[in-house]
Amino acid sequence: MTALPFALVALALSAEPPTALDALKAYDALMAPPHFKATTRMTAHRDDGSTREYAMTVLKGEGDKSRVWFQEPAAVRGQEMLRNGENLWVYMPNLKRALRLASRDSFQGGDFNNADIMRADYAVDYEATLEEDAAAPDTWLLKLKAKSTDASYDAIKLWIQKAPLGMPVKGEYYTASGKLLRSAKFSEVKDFGHGAKRPSRITMRNEIATARYSELVFDTLDVTAPAPDSKFALADLGR
């Protein structure tokens, strides 16, 4: 797992601009290491200025697999979400069972959608082009176009640092008609150890209801935590 960061450094030091795919893979590698366990908090800021807070544990496995356990608030404690490829389920403790969900559904009613939390492997879902941005010379502008309607957004613009390559600065998320849905700011880069250095705070603004925004904070991120396949089985939900 150490080969990829060296490759990223080599890319960053290279005089040649990276390919769009290399830049996108660099972003994916930073934001979604092959496997990790993280404790996170999400704060949803609402129109009236009040907030709703959630605490959860996220486990990401090899490939496109992830699982979330909700600890707070009490009303959703015991709820879980599981992603395996294109498949997304939510385990509802009051139903004692799991239901299938759509990726585009809002994550706990905040301004992230399910795929924002449960899936960050953009290289799989999007075709990318890379551009310079005269307004931000230290960054590359990655323009992403969804390969299928199953992707969480139809188009994304990502501004990533040239060095270290892939470190995100901000993002914009669009509908097929080009309407801006959400915008993200990535901040507070933190070294979580074992080579995991990435923004620990993501602020997602709702561009439709502009008074609303949500913040996702990573308190811990352990890239050495085991993530066995058994944790990503539908039958394991609710245990």
Partner: protein, 453 residues
Amino acid sequence: MTPLILLLLAQSPSLVSVTGYLDSRTTTAETLGDGAAGLTELVEGNVQLKLTPHERFTVQVDASLFWQGAWFLHGGDRDSPQYRPLMVLSEAYVDATPQDSVRLLAGKKRIVWGSGLAFNPTDLINPPKDPTNPTFQRTGAWLGMVEFPFEKVALSAVVSGKTLQQYAGLPTALVWYPPYPSFEAAQGWVPDVRDDEAHWAFMSRLYLLVADTDVTLSLAYTNLYNDAFRNKTRPGLSLSRTFGGLELHGEALWQTGSPRVEVTDGCEASPQQCVLRGIPLASRPYLEADWLNVNAVVGGRYYFEDGGVFSTEYFYNGDGHDPAGFQKLGTLFKQYPALVQAALGASQDPGTPQQFAFVPLRRHYLLLSYQKPQLFDDWTIFASVLASLEDLSMQLVPQVSYEPWQWLRLTLAAYIPLPGVPEWGVRIGDDTYGEFTLSPYGTRVLFTARAFF
């Protein structure tokens, strides 16, 4: 488990997880039949405890204490057994994973393998649920399970014993009746329904994640479990898949014959005469029939970009009545509801008290529901309608919820039965009734306050 061990566990939050709620449900109702309550209050204290002394071993308990009161009963206030305080042990089980792909579970647990949300034809062991709000039913069955779960495949086998007698939420007879009658039966207060048969079920399933589709093949064997079938083997199939924002699912159970109750010709009009002449009021003539029968549901959910969810399910009840059979059963039910309920059979463990008890008597049903959360941030509107497609009678449930804080949810709901097309319903004298207006209740209004902890 000693108090000291409990104390040590409680001091380790990674080992112990406790959650639950305190819930108050106040219902006012238009009463139409004897014994129906005009005002009821139900207070539930629920605790869900999860102990994880080892990452491969958990103990989970979900228990509720209910206090109930009923006033303004149709026909005069009196003591009603169904409104007494009770305890419901929804789940209590140990769950062990000796190896990554081997799971052993024993205790009481609600296991639902089918993809239906309001209706689950392949669920043969759990207490019934309210299709207009399945979250009201949390209770499972006493069982043992062996499961071999893999990432995209799971093989499960369950053996379950039926609760034949229980007190304070705990069973005193599982699988077999005791050799002596219950105290109430001995006193003649309730009929002695004992037999010497084993009441049990075996269920197995193969789950596959194929082409992004949940596929569940099941095979069940039951003997006098939640229906009158003896030695009955039934295969089932369940599918579920999402297409963008649309989820589609289907679930079906095949069987030979039917446990349907048929009222003897003429007895619906004058049951006393039948009793005097020794003619059984009703029978189950198709229990041993060899024709193929099916109970099935197809449905879908659409997730809107704004968080709204539209859900629909069509339920085909192969055990339902044709118009003539329903006319006879409905006529008898309207006059002698307790008699018919006894004939249809009631579970000894009905689980959590339900706001709307659904016993499908006809063959075709449609459920439509729509939920829109986060209206003005803290408001959720929900509406569902359950319709009998054969007389177009329906149960309409509009609902609005408000969450002033994350720990408190206030809900106002109405349960409105609509009679449908008179010509297609049950005619008794000059009156006609749809399937959903046979109940002794007219419109009910429910206010719920639930505080989570």
